[in-house]
């Protein structure tokens, strides 16, 4: 039997189902691995070993009571980790921010509840850029997370902790959130699979809001089949989220393994220009070759408003954030800096509680919404958003899936972009249009450049994740790129 940390979540579940290993043994295995390796990686803000073991023991007991070892749900007994902006009852949920350092939610996010109900074991909460604002995990108020492929480089962000932990084999899979690439970009930089579902496919209830009209929770997994299996657990309508789509639940794994001969693949020329570094482009071109070998028809296409998308994103997202983050005022929970007068208390609390990037975006967003500037900034950004969305609508009339790089670069050295926010924002140039349009997109590994992983982004039609996963799976099987592992994994 392969070592647990090299197995996929589905393989681990199968092994538990076959009673080759107990849920408790699996949980202890990964907790031991985290204890041994996370000191250098720093992907977890917190682990919950006692809870995890207690949950695992209870699940083993349930399993012992079953006549058949076959479990519904497919991931029974598998451990997982959750980005620290997803609420977990009784476990601090900090958003990697000083202002929420002491916040313990009295409720579970819908995705966490569904995980528990499907018999999965939470190991801990992963590091992130503060309030999901960043592309490198360097904006965490607590510490930086490192990329397991090269500890001197960033894991990407903002779901950097989740991506690094999965890539390093510290946990079989994790959940992240994607507002402007925050699942896909770290998945790309860490060489794993990351899916940003269609807006409305997964409930946002319990996800601490950054930009409500863009946020989606998504899985970070070792391979595409795991990604589909996780979607089977977390996706589906939720009455607690008015923006969750009232669609019947579906089997995201159903089309995996199907032939993709004849599918039409569009390659947006805006994604293959100078913006992406040559090594990344060359990996993506190789991937297009693999798709052609599989019988896909690959053509260049256009998403003409791509160049405006980033600016629109950096108005809409901060505008919503300025409102979403206003509740952190020190009155009810989290950090409070006492003062004689309430406005002073707000000011002191927020000055001390928020990091520089969060403050930057709150100011940007407040400005964009202010009277006199609203039309010129926020309203115009909404118009651009409509145009970006239309670009995708038009492209999907002709193509089944759009393919390009996830990130313009591979993992960059820690500290190399922190002094220049705009340079950092450019990391999201290929991922934010997807959030603005609300469509689903997946990043799958497509090779290495300079020894660091490159991510291939595949974008699909709204609520057709099953199709997108089918194409991604076909590519992954043919290219063999998801078997690439950092030394941290192969060395054990």
């Amino acid at each position: 039997m392969a070592r647990l940390h090299e197995m996929t979540a589905l393989e681990i579940a199968a092994s538990i189902g076959a009673r080759e290993v107990s849920v408790e043994e699996v949980a202890l295995y990964f907790l031991e691995r985290i204890g041994r390796l996370d000191g250098s990686l720093r992907s977890f803000i917190r682990t919950v070993p006692e809870r995890a073991v207690a949950a695992a023991v209870a699940l083993d007991r349930r399993l012992a009571g079953e006549v058949s070892a076959r479990r519904a749900g497919g991931l029974f007994g598998v451990p997982f980790a959750v980005k620290d902006n997803i609420c977990t009852r009784g476990i601090p949920t900090t958003c990697a921010s000083r202002i929420l350092e002491s916040f313990v939610p009295p409720y579970d996010a819908t995705v966490v509840r569904r995980m528990y109900e499907a018999g999965l074991v939470l190991l801990g909460k992963t590091n992130m850029d503060e309030f999901a604002m960043g592309s490198s995990c360097e904006n965490s108020a607590f510490f930086e997370t490192r990329n397991p492929w090269n500890l001197e480089t960033v894991p990407g962000g903002s779901s950097g902790g989740s991506a690094a932990a999965v890539a390093a084999g510290l946990v079989p899979f994790a959940l992240g959130s994607d507002t402007g690439g925050s699942v896909r970009q770290p998945a790309a930089l860490c060489g794993i699979v990351g899916l940003k579902p269609t807006y409305g496919a997964v409930s946002r209830y319990g996800l601490v809001a950054f930009a409500s009209s863009l946020d989606q929770i998504g899985p970070l997994t070792r391979d595409v089949a795991d990604c589909a299996a996780v979607m089977n657990v977390i996706a589906g309508h939720d009455e607690m989220d008015s923006t969750s789509a009232p669609l019947p639940s579906r089997d995201y794994s159903a089309r995996l393994g199907a032939d993709i001969r004849g599918i039409r693949v569009g390659v947006p020329r805006e994604y293959m220009g100078e913006g992406a570094e040559p090594g990344v482009r060359s990996c993506v071109r190789d991937a297009l070759g693999v798709l052609e070998d599989l019988g896909a028809v690959v053509e260049e296409c256009a998403l003409p408003h791509t160049e405006y998308a980033l600016s629109a994103y950096y108005l809409i997202a901060p505008a919503e954030a300025s409102s979403n983050l206003a509740r952190y005022d020190g009155v009810r929970y989290g950090l409070r800096e006492d003062a004689a007068e309430v406005h002073q208390m707000y000011e002191r609390t927020r000055r001390r509680g928020f990091g520089p990037e969060v403050k930057r975006r709150i100011m940007l967003g407040t400005y964009a919404l202010s009277s006199g500037y609203y039309d010129a900034y926020y309203l115009k950004a909404l118009k651009v958003r409509t145009l970006v969305k239309r670009d995708f609508d038009i492209a999907f009339e002709k193509y089944d899936v759009l393919v390009g790089p996830t990130s313009p670069t591979v993992a960059f050295p820690i500290g190399s972009k922190t002094g220049d926010p705009v340079k950092m924002y450019l990391s999201d140039v290929f991922s934010v249009p997807v959030n603005l349009a609300g469509v689903p997109a997946i990043s799958v590994p497509c090779g290495l450049h300079d020894g660091l992983p490159v991510g291939l982004q595949m974008i699909g039609r709204p609520f057709e994740e099953d199709f997108l996963l089918m194409v991604a799976h076909a590519y992954e099987q043919a290219a063999g790129t998801s078997r690439l592992r950092p030394r941290m994994v192969s060395e054990g």
Binding site: S212, S242, R332, Y333, H343, T366
Partner: protein, 488 residues
């Protein structure tokens, strides 16, 4: 202010009224809305605005808001949406209020005020849905409190805001507009409209302009109006103040002013509270609200009879004067009470008017004196009707009936029980009355002599003496007859 000055200027008034809807649960979460619960016992992560929560619109609140809008003759917009109104305040846990902004639920309504020739329409510009905030409580006075506490029970209670057109031309008319509005909303069953519990709140916009001018003067917004009385007092003060400013060559500033109930003045708010930029933007956590025509029509069918219609029916069905009908139908509960009385007592021989006299007279006086609503009193239509029957059957006099009315209302004891227990029943036994008559004749020889010498009014005095001696319980007709017989 002399009358010449008053005629020189005319006020222009518009009212913004916030009304709490009578839903069982809050607008975006399932918490109950009961008034008066222990602080922070009707809260959940959603209405406390904890990180990660999302609002889910309560359909019941939408239905009541639509009902209110229909009762106020508004057009229901087929599509409306919610916005966030952003500002920091400790009673506002999300630091934004979910409200409606440029796409309100309903527009273009009206109600009528005044009677006869001065009857007029006041336009309703818009009606929209929003959530209420919590309530700050200070330990001691606001200036000296060492700390303040927040009760979030009210936070997230559904509100409608009803904005009138600037069609109101006097403080008294503003009060009448509010009375009619309250009455309609109570009838429609959408709100209790209790100002003292805060389920009806009023802000007033007021300006003055030279009489007959078409242009508007600069307006001020009057807040902190706690009662219908202070609507009138506050507006009167503010109108006078603005006229004085203009006459002194000054300029009215556009500002928010607080009505100071104790000092009976309006005071300008300054500083931070004034400089608000609410940064409205569409609420991304809620989808636009689409109301299809059929559903709106189904709500319209549920709309109960409104005050105007009921008033007309009272005149035609019960033969009541318009005045009576107006008073009785001002609140649905009083009208309901009246109708149940008539239902029990019957409609013949001017009975509806008799009931009206008692309900408008004694009952209303009792309610006002105790500052309660009819549904809070122990008196029921059965009480009132039994009382009327006791009078009609000659068991008690009208005077006795009035005397026991309050006790009946306070204790809920049936009038027949009170009469029996306290021996208040009318004396119709001739021998008993004859004995009293004999005594009165004996004690008043002079008056008896006057009567016998032809002074007819002397009989009245003797009747009075008999009534006095019997504690008013003697049947006046019987006393008269016996006295005449004895005096020959």
């Amino acid at each position: 202010m002399d009358s010449a000055t008053a005629a020189e200027f005319e006020p222009v008034i518009g009212l913004e009224v916030h009304v709490e809807l009578k839903t069982k649960s809050k607008i975006f979460c399932p918490c109950p809305t009961k008034f008066g619960a222990e602080p922070n016992t009707q809260v959940c992560p959603v209405c406390l605005g904890l990180p990660g929560v999302l609002p889910v619109l309560n359909e019941g609140a939408v239905e009541l808001a639509v009902m209110a809008a229909l009762a106020l003759n508004c057009d229901i917009r087929p599509s409306s949406r919610f916005h966030r109104k952003n500002y920091f305040y400790p009673d506002l846990p999300k630091a934004y209020q979910i409200s409606q902004y440029d796409h309100p639920l309903a527009t273009g309504g009206w109600i009528e005020v005044g009677a006869g020739a001065s009857r007029k329409r006041i336009g309703i510009k818009r009606l929209h849905l929003e959530e209420d905030a919590g309530k700050l409580m200070h330990e001691g006075s606001i200036e000296t409190a060492a700390r303040s506490l927040v009760d979030f029970n009210r936070c997230g209670v559904p509100l409608i805001e009803i904005v009138s057109e600037p069609d109101i031309s006097s403080p008294e008319e503003a009060k009448e507009y509010l009375q009619v509005l309250k009455s309609i909303l109570q009838y429609a069953g959408v709100s209790d409209c209790r100002m003292q519990e805060g389920s009806l709140r009023v802000d007033a916009n007021v300006s003055v302009r030279p009489t007959g001018s078409a242009a508007f003067g600069t307006r001020t917004e009057l807040k902190n109006i706690g009662s219908f009385r202070s609507v009138v007092r506050g507006l009167q003060y503010e109108i006078r103040r603005q006229i004085e400013v203009i006459r002194a060559g000054g300029e009215v500033l556009q500002e928010t002013r607080h009505w100071d109930e104790q000092r009976e003045v309006t005071v300008a708010l300054r500083g931070k509270e004034e400089a608000h930029d609410y940064r409205y933007f569409p609420e991304p956590d809620l989808v636009p609200l689409h109301l299809d025509r059929e559903w709106v029509e189904s709500v319209r069918l549920k709309l109960p009879e409104l005050p105007e219609a009921r008033k007309r029916r009272f005149v035609s069905d019960y033969g009541l004067p318009e005045y009576d009908a107006g008073v009785l139908t001002a609140s649905p509960s009083l009208a309901e009470f009246y109708e149940r009385c008539v239902g029990l007592y019957g409609r013949g021989e001017g009975r509806p008017k008799t009931v009206s006299n008692w309900v408008m007279g004694e009952l209303t006086r009792f309610l006002n004196a105790n500052n309660i609503e009819i549904e809070e009193a122990r008196v029921t239509p059965s009480h009132v009707v039994e009382l009327l029957r006791l009078i009609e059957g000659g068991s008690i006099s009208g005077k006795i009936a009035k005397a026991i009315f309050d006790r009946m209302c306070e204790t809920g004891e049936m009038p027949s029980q009170i009469v029996r227990r306290e021996g208040l029943g009318q004396i119709s036994d001739e021998s008993e009355i004859a004995a009293v008559v004999a005594r009165v004749i004996e004690e008043n020889p002079k008056v008896v002599g006057d009567y016998k010498s032809g002074k007819a009014q002397a009989l009245g005095y003797l009747v009075g003496q008999v009534m006095k001696a019997t504690g008013g319980r003697a049947s006046p007709g019987l006393v008269n007859r016996v006295l005449r017989e004895r005096l020959g």
